[in-house]
Symmetry: C2
């Protein structure tokens, strides 16, 4: 066991070298050029786009390297950030301000002291505890390493049929990728609709879209087991059927990587994500947390939630770095904006769902409209369906969901802005949004939706 | 002279049957099913998309009829709105509450009384008072009729070279249309840059883009005359040269159609546009005005401005109709959002220009960033350049300008929303905008621009 100790200084230790951790490290470096910064990262990679993995698997991105924003070498050489890859932190001793580190390459352990600590360990893909789960051909998608494994498997094993467990973002993006690689794709989805982050009336439209693309979709159906031969997957069983498959993708959601914090005194909250304030400080002095391992404050519900999103990871990393460097930036939270493409379809959402509003006893109205992404007479005007949810008594926007084709999804950004700043349907109607025939109907679809829904207020 | 008089009732007369007039008529009809509504429209058409004319000329829209949202017959038969096309109002007598109408088809005149009057006469393309201006081959683009004339001219006369006077929205959209029809295109632009609605540092980028497309662009150059042979245009002269052309498009801006209001007592303002309050009422009781013939309140400068935009025409028409029907909707004004496509380039703008801020003695900072429309590694990630202007002391956004390729322009909508609701650069950075690799970098380009500019605050 090595025990690195600096006599003096103000040493910053960061656990996790992806979006949140490296955003923070870079920010601290910009503000404090001479500070000692050590980053422990359990993989070989830093600062890569996890969201880009499906596009590497589909081969529209040619190499895994393209997904890497900055390499460990670049951080070390150009930014003087001491990145130690293949180092996993297994324990945090907040009383003595040190972390226990497992050096994977050398199979050794040591304690590293810190003056300030940032935990940015991200999330991990959920894996069901079933026999055969470690068989060849079964993959979770959460790290670049896992993405590379999948790509290699397709390249060398040439699987014909894949089953994807779960119809969330990763499930749908992986469906696109595998369709593009020529596989037959089946999705097994536990609930009634894919995309549980949308209301059922919109989710059903996505289910229809997915079937249009040639995906076999089984909803209301749960994985019950893996079928393997010689430790290699040959199919899955659900509560309703057996499906042959030479490849299985687990898209069953993710959870924060916080198991190693047990006994540290660091307070966890929703889904065992780390509780933080707006400066990304934990309950323990000199310990910050950021990214997918933390709770996120939901601006609309005014309650903490758990979401794992690259945007939030980058923002909270920046705020944590800012706070560590002594600045006073605050992270105001998020409204739950997310977007997803599957082949020609685009899906976007922001704000609260009907079921969340029901649970909060908020009286609301909802409306759905169909429009076009361009002027109706302009070539390639694509379908767009917009659902809005507003508070009944005030008309204040509470949520928005969009399904459509090219040009549809990014319109969610106006609704996300409206949500954050508590705009009403009338405010949305009054917005001076851009119009020319190649870009929009004269009333943007989000405004058409607001005009439709305001009649119910 | 006919003198129509109804004994009783509450007769609404509307002058102008395009976006503003027919939005108002439709709204009144929805609220007051039995009310008498007469619309006088000088052309043969109602409710057409003037913004769509360049796309009809380029032939990507096949027929002029596709640009018509609702025909006069449909308004008459389905909505019981008495639309009289080929009727031009030449005088308004606000004391006796009647308008003088010229029946173009029958070459007769009559007076029509009103209980309430809405003026929605739109704008007219500026035409320089020069010899030869009425020669064949010289066209302004403002009405559907003018668009049809241009299309017919290209079809039958097969012109080879066109000169466009003016590098504003219409000039650029017509350049695209004529390039698509195979013409050689020259633009003569009076000022240093095309698109005077952008700052010079962004305008120069559009000038470069236009040249890339094969357009010959002469800036700092003014039209001095038309060259004609047998009343047919063969070229134009500028203060610097003579250019051969068998077709000339006038894109020199437009002005409100308000000349016929002289002596009516109706107050005019900026650029002779009609002064209105937030309910679209003029200074004369029972007289409303809406659309391109009115002033528009600029929410950012808090001053009236003149802009001719389909979005504002539709909105103010709706508010006028609402007010006429006794409701209390208000039009809060606009922030000057506009968007334009020329071949593969997209241009968008909102808010105030540097020169406007200089004139108002507001201290501001500006910054320009280059980014991509998608994740850097995603195929077809296109260039996007974003300029932001913010108030120096508060960081409040004052303006935004975007130039880029596919997927760039519509991002202006977040900035337009931010402007309307007085958001700061920090507010923009904090927005929970949507991200997935096919749609955006993890920091949306408008946020990257805000992060860049906030350093100067």
């Amino acid at each position: 066991m090595t025990h690195n100790k600096k006599d003096k200084g103000n040493k910053l230790v960061i656990i996790g070298g992806d979006a949140a951790g490296m955003s923070a490290a870079s920010k601290v470096r910009r503000e404090q050029p001479d500070r000692e910064i050590i980053v422990f990262e359990q993989s070989r990679y830093t600062s890569y786009s996890a969201c880009g993995i499906p596009y590497f698997i589909s081969e529209i991105v040619k190499t895994a390297e393209e997904l890497i924003v900055r390499s460990p070498e670049e951080f070390r050489n150009k930014y003087n950030i001491n990145v130690k890859t293949l180092h996993r932190v297994t324990n945090v001793d907040t009383k003595n301000k040190k972390v226990k580190v497992f050096d994977i390459g050398n199979d050794t352990e040591f304690w590293e002291e810190y003056d300030q600590l940032l935990i940015a360990t991200g999330g991990k893909a959920f894996c069901p505890d079933m026999e055969g789960k470690d068989a060849e051909g079964i993959f979770g998608i959460s790290t670049l390493k896992s993405g590379i494994k999948v790509e290699n498997f397709i390249e060398t094993e040439k699987p014909k049929a894949a089953v994807i467990i779960g119809g969330g973002y990763i499930g749908l993006e992986m469906a696109e990728a595998l369709l593009m690689r020529g596989l037959k794709v089946t999705i097994i989805n536990r609930s009634e609709q894919v995309m549980a982050t949308l209301d059922p009336d919109m989710g059903i439209k996505i289910s229809d879209a997915i079937k249009n693309l040639g995906v076999t979709l089984y909803c209301n159906e749960s994985l019950t087991g893996f079928k393997t031969v010689n430790n290699r997957v040959v199919g899955v069983t659900s509560d309703k059927r057996t499906i042959t498959a030479d490849m299985v993708i687990l898209g069953m959601g993710s959870s924060p990587n916080t198991d190693f914090l047990k006994g540290s005194g660091i307070q966890l909250g929703v889904a065992n994500a780390i509780k933080v304030n707006a400066q990304m400080q934990t309950n323990i002095p000199d310990v910050w947390a950021a990214g997918d391992c933390t709770e996120t404050f939901n601006i609309v519900s005014q309650k903490p939630m758990y979401i794992a999103l690259g945007t939030v990871a980058n923002k909270t990393g920046l705020v944590a770095g800012s706070s560590i460097a002594g600045e006073e930036t605050l992270f105001p939270g998020a409204v739950g904006t997310a977007v997803c493409k599957i082949c020609r379809y685009e899906v976007a959402r922001t704000g609260l769902l009907e079921k969340e509003l029901d649970a909060m006893n908020i009286e609301y109205v909802t409306g759905i409209i169909d429009s076009k992404t361009r002027a109706h007479y302009y070539p390639n005007a694509k379908d767009i369906t917009v659902k809005l949810i507003a508070e009944k008594k005030s008309g204040r926007l509470l949520g928005g969901q969009i399904i459509g084709e090219e040009g549809a999804a990014k319109r969610i950004d106006v609704l996300a802005t409206a949500l954050t700043h508590r705009l009403t349907l009338q405010n949305i109607i009054d917005l001076d949004l851009s119009y020319a025939p190649p870009f929009s109907p004269v009333w943007d679809p989000v405004q058409t939706a607001a005009r439709h829904l305001i009649k119910k207020i």
